[in-house]
Amino acid sequence: MAHQKGVSTDADDSGRVSLMNDPKARGLIFQGLLIIAVVAMVYMGISNAVNNLARAGIASGFGFFNVRAGFDIGQTIIPYTNDSTYLRAFFVGLLNTLVVAVIGIFFATIIGFIVGLARLSKNYLVQKFATVYVETLRNIPLLLQLLFWYKAVLSILPSPREAARETGVEVAFSINNRGLYLPRVVPEDGSSLILYALILAIAAWFFIGRWAKKRQMATGQQFPVFLTGLALVLVLPLLAFLVTGMPLSLEYASLQGFNMVGGWIIQPEFIALLLGLALYTASFIAEIVRAGILAVSHGQTEAAFALGLRPNLTSRLVIVPQAMRVIIPPLTSQFLNLTKNSSLAVAIGYPDLVSVFGGTVLNQTGQAVEVISITMLVYLALSLLTSAFMNWFNSSVALVER
């Protein structure tokens, strides 16, 4: 039939060809079938799990989120007590993960860039030191490094009773096996003006930068943006502090009973995790930075010098922008790794999402399927968000091809 039709119709009447012979329609049909198959599989998987749970007499559903948690957590960024709900405990764990990931990324990037540049240094000592750093840290499993920092470094520090001389004496700084104790800034009435002054200074810095760039494009005159901005950020809040009558005070830690009380306490678990994550990831970032810089051909430097740019400006305006193009995509995956690796916190007792939610909450509620699924979704979402941000950043620093 189809053959006869094909013969009898005009050559340009292709709409009547059998759907199976139209590559576009065929593709759509198969992709549609595939989607149906995937959805059916997922549905079967979920309903299978639900049925099995019901048959085994295991509670399911998400009702547990509103139930009182009844346990305490060692480090909480948002207010949390044992009367809070499991949902609150979830957010406490999530924030603890985010804090260590964000601070870890910050330090890993800085250390990584410094070490990466040091590996290219012409100074023999600096260059060898950076090489040893990279080769040592990136070749030892992260879990071992965490255990090293926690057990071999931090836990052999003296206890607060040994470290502090007397009960009740205030100390500005103390590091012992219960954590790092620093003075805490306590805001008093009227201190919000200082914060506003800081925000104003940062905004001013931003606008001065834009104005200076515009002026330089138009007239060629330069303006010391960095120094002006720094001065604004330092002077404006200080002025506000003096004008409002110095409404900030410092609270110091002192030994009370078993532990140091007061001040700003950073738990040893957090320090160990941060050290481990930042130093380990920095060794990978260092190699990425080195690769990125080496990827810019030496001809670029020579060309810049030939135009009369000083070495400083050559790096900033010619080398780094081109190196960033190579550096950012692998850097993104290091950031993702660091965030995901933070789940190793469970080994050293830092109350991150996996420890609080995937550990304690899972056990107290017994709802493994729900809790583990949510935990996985959270890490997936964190990774996708980081990727999205880095992709945006990448496109904003990418070379504009003319």
Partner: protein, 340 residues
């Protein structure tokens, strides 16, 4: 490309399909088919379940596993052990990875009703306590306000601790670890002032510290911790076997049947003894094992009193007093329904 996706879908389907075979009903048939009992135990708690230098497990909880194997196979050695952390234990039982959980696990209502488990009895009545360094000069748990407390995650201990400090209007700083060894190490290195878990556990853990004599267990017992074996819900036969192995060991102690005199006792004309040893009635057949099941348990593992003395009693380093774990006839709580 499509081919690749298709094969991935098939792979996912294969994984999802595996879920369907879990939680099959007849555990006894599975156990008989594979020839051993897969028993979930702790990762090492002296006196309850701990491996020795040669890798052989022993302890109060281990002896229950051995008892079940003796009842099913007539061979107490037909057991394989899965060391589990507190966090892993219920999932391992629910998923069918183990046949029996005998791992100093507290019987609570939520565990009994919401986790798909059944507790088959109480083989050790315990309560939660606190251990501290003697150098702190503390002699009551009520003096612990402000302390750092080491605790294992996923335990009733974690909740009791919160309740106790709250009820007494005290504060504390929890330091939570997943594995028992990690909690021990953290306490030993003075990360915490206080270690809290079941008192039996504290006595056991204290022996493993670098300087046991520098530590003491405080007198307060802040909770009821009935520890016992658990099985999956929905398999009454297997539940009965585990339950009655435990009861047979208690009944044997009550009647004075020991591993030493059990062969002699076979000649006894006391109908109670004859029923226990399978000389009268078909109690074994009723639960799907041979009629001399209790004889094998007593012969190879011993009665409850023997098991207690051998693992945690006065002759062991733990030196735990029978206390509430004595037979009901001697002022304790261990009471078994009659075997008849």
């Amino acid at each position: 490309m499509n081919k690749k996706i298709l094969s991935a879908v098939v792979g996912v389907a294969a994984v999802a399909g595996m879920g369907a075979t879990v939680a099959s009903a007849a555990t006894l048939d599975d156990v008989k088919a594979k020839g051993f009992v897969q028993c979930g135990v702790s990762t090492g708690l002296a006196g309850f379940s701990a491996p020795n230098d040669a890798g052989d497990w022993s302890g109060l909880d281990v002896d229950l596993c051995r008892g079940v194997a003796a009842a099913v196979f007539g061979d107490a050695k037909a057991v394989k052990y899965s060391p589990l952390s507190a966090k892993e234990r219920f999932t391992a039982l629910q998923s069918g990875e183990i046949d029996l959980l005998s791992r100093n696990t507290t019987w609570t209502m939520s565990r009994d009703t919401q986790l798909g488990l059944n507790f088959a009895g109480v083989n050790y009545y315990d309560g939660q306590g606190f251990m501290v360094r003697k150098s702190l000069g503390v002699n009551s748990a009520l003096q612990l306000s402000g302390a750092s407390v080491c605790v294992q995650t996923g335990t009733t201990t974690e909740l009791n601790l919160t309740d106790y400090f709250k009820a007494n209007d005290m504060t504390y700083n929890p330091v939570v670890f997943e594995k028992l060894e990690e909690v021990n190490a953290a306490y030993d290195s003075n990360r915490c002032d206080v270690y809290t878990t079941d008192q039996s556990g504290l006595y056991s853990i204290r022996l493993g510290l670098s300087a046991p004599d520098e530590h003491m267990v405080l007198p307060e017992v802040i909770s009821k911790e009935p520890l016992g074996p658990a099985v999956r819900q929905g398999d009454d036969q297997w539940f009965s076997i585990v339950k009655w192995v435990h009861y047979a060991m208690i009944n044997a102690e009550e009647m004075g049947i020991t591993s030493a005199n059990v062969d002699e006792m076979l000649n006894s004309t006391d109908p109670n003894v004859m029923r226990v040893l399978g000389k009268e009635g078909t109690f074994g057949e009723a639960i799907g094992v041979s009629n001399d099941w209790a004889y094998q348990v007593i012969k190879q593992v011993g009665n409850y009193g023997e098991v207690f003395e051998r693992n945690v009693g006065a002759s062991t380093p733990l030196a735990i007093d029978r206390g509430v774990n004595a037979l009901w006839s001697k002022g304790g709580l261990q009471y078994a329904p009659p075997l008849r």
